[in-house]
Symmetry: C2
Subunit: 269 residues, 2 copies
């Protein structure tokens, strides 16, 4: 049996950059698949392409329309094959539903260069000293993550209607355990509660419209991390005119920044 | 005479989503046009499309290959026309050069919703009390910006080879004066010196591979700002394996967050 994440993002090559896949119940969200699983599908398609070289460096996913339960196709196109990077364009579509998702992916050769960490990992309690949170959000995909909240877990309305902090810090990993790889990182970059739920404490309709994840880890850094929890930090700077930003950092448990991710979220009211 | 920025991003409609444009000397960078001007071109093409509704909410630009001096074509496609958002796909190409740039744009209806600023503008000296910096970087586009550095302006190597702060804070606006609009914001989101120049103090080869700007301002907020300088803040979290992230915030001079922007930068060594 493959891991549920691998089952959710499995693709069958149809030739000439086309792949067939299907949503799975394990990664269902409220009214469609978990956006992180869709992000991982778009990345998986590039990694499965026979012309793909190097490791993922950047992934942008645009959530254009609802993905229905069932089969989808992914079409991958190598836009530009450069010496140091490849630029890929990806489209997910469903019969009768048109294009549901678009993505762009940049891959880059593995290189060892001058390196310097600027940001430092927040000092927090270790994951093995942080209790696992029960899933209080009634969506299927939640059970596939071991989440341990340091701050900013699911919470009720503030009694006085006050606006609360948009910051979440949590230890998170796939469940069942699975060594982290780039598709898993892509999925985790969307595994935060919508920030408007956090600041208002209610559940208004929301939808991620676009998400960009930059992978700052090489394959060796991911191998070092294995299946231990990542420290995932999430924030938002402004809510207005029906949209809010969301920024995230994913850290290895020994303090290396593995990925940064940003998204723009539509909210109803 | 149009403003140099408007001249640089002017497009002639060719029908069926195709537009013709050309690079201009005013926005030339080291070995191609200023990436911010290219970002503004990609956005301009969507705004010029007869089916475009609403205001820009998000712009992602992928810099796939070198743009040569001279003519280019931009092809715009409406991927999905939703009730609350439109998803656009854009490609820039040159004869003989293939696809040079791809972009995705999300537009959204103007809506007044619940709003809350989370991040606060850094407390800095006012723009009219901050001296205009002389352009020390030998690129043509620099002269089209009035830049006033509060911290993190161009600087030489640290005498001891120390790694310096990646943070820049500057007041910035178009020169000649021009009221800010979405294409101008898109351009300014790429108007920072590459962060690796800042932290190392040297000039190694760099290239933005992908840039995403989220527009958190409605048209009225931009109209309020007019042609006064924006406070532009820039940072980077990690440099390794040949890439670094760069994050930016663009604030109105009275403290409203107009846009956030992130990019992934390739560097050579």
């Amino acid at each position: 049996m493959p891991h549920p994440l691998d089952a959710a993002i499995a693709l069958t090559p149809l030739g000439e950059g086309r792949f067939a896949g299907a949503t799975t119940a394990d990664y269902w969200n409220m009214a469609g698949p978990f956006g992180g699983a869709t992000a991982a599908v778009m990345l998986r398609a590039v990694l499965d392409h026979p012309d793909c070289r190097g490791r993922p460096a950047a992934l942008t996913v645009n959530y254009c329309g609802a993905v229905a339960e069932g089969a989808f196709e992914v079409f991958v196109r190598l836009v530009r094959d450069g010496r140091s990077t490849q630029h890929w364009s990806v489209e997910q579509s469903q019969a009768g539903g048109g294009i549901t998702t678009t993505a762009s992916v940049v891959t880059g050769a593995e290189r060892h260069t001058w390196a310097h960490p600027m940001a430092a990992m927040p000092q927090v309690a270790r994951w093995d000293q942080t209790p696992v949170a029960e899933g209080t959000v009634p969506v299927a995909w939640r059970k596939n993550y071991d989440m341990r909240f340091l701050t900013g877990g699911p919470r009720p309305l503030a009694p006085d209607g006050a606006v609360m902090s948009p910051v979440t810090r949590m230890w998170v990993r796939d469940m069942p355990l699975r060594p982290v790889d780039y598709p898993a990182l892509a999925a985790i970059s969307d595994a935060f509660l919508p920030r408007i739920f956090m600041v208002r404490g209610d559940f208004s309709p929301v939808a991620t419209v676009t998400l960009s994840t930059y992978f700052l880890a090489d394959a060796a850094a991911l191998a070092r991390q294995g299946d231990r929890p990542l420290l995932a930090v999430c924030d938002g700077a402004a809510f207005k005119y029906g949209f809010n930003d969301q920024s995230a950092q994913l850290w290895s448990d020994d303090g290396e920044l593995l990925a940064v991710s940003n998204q723009l979220v539509w909210f109803k009211g």
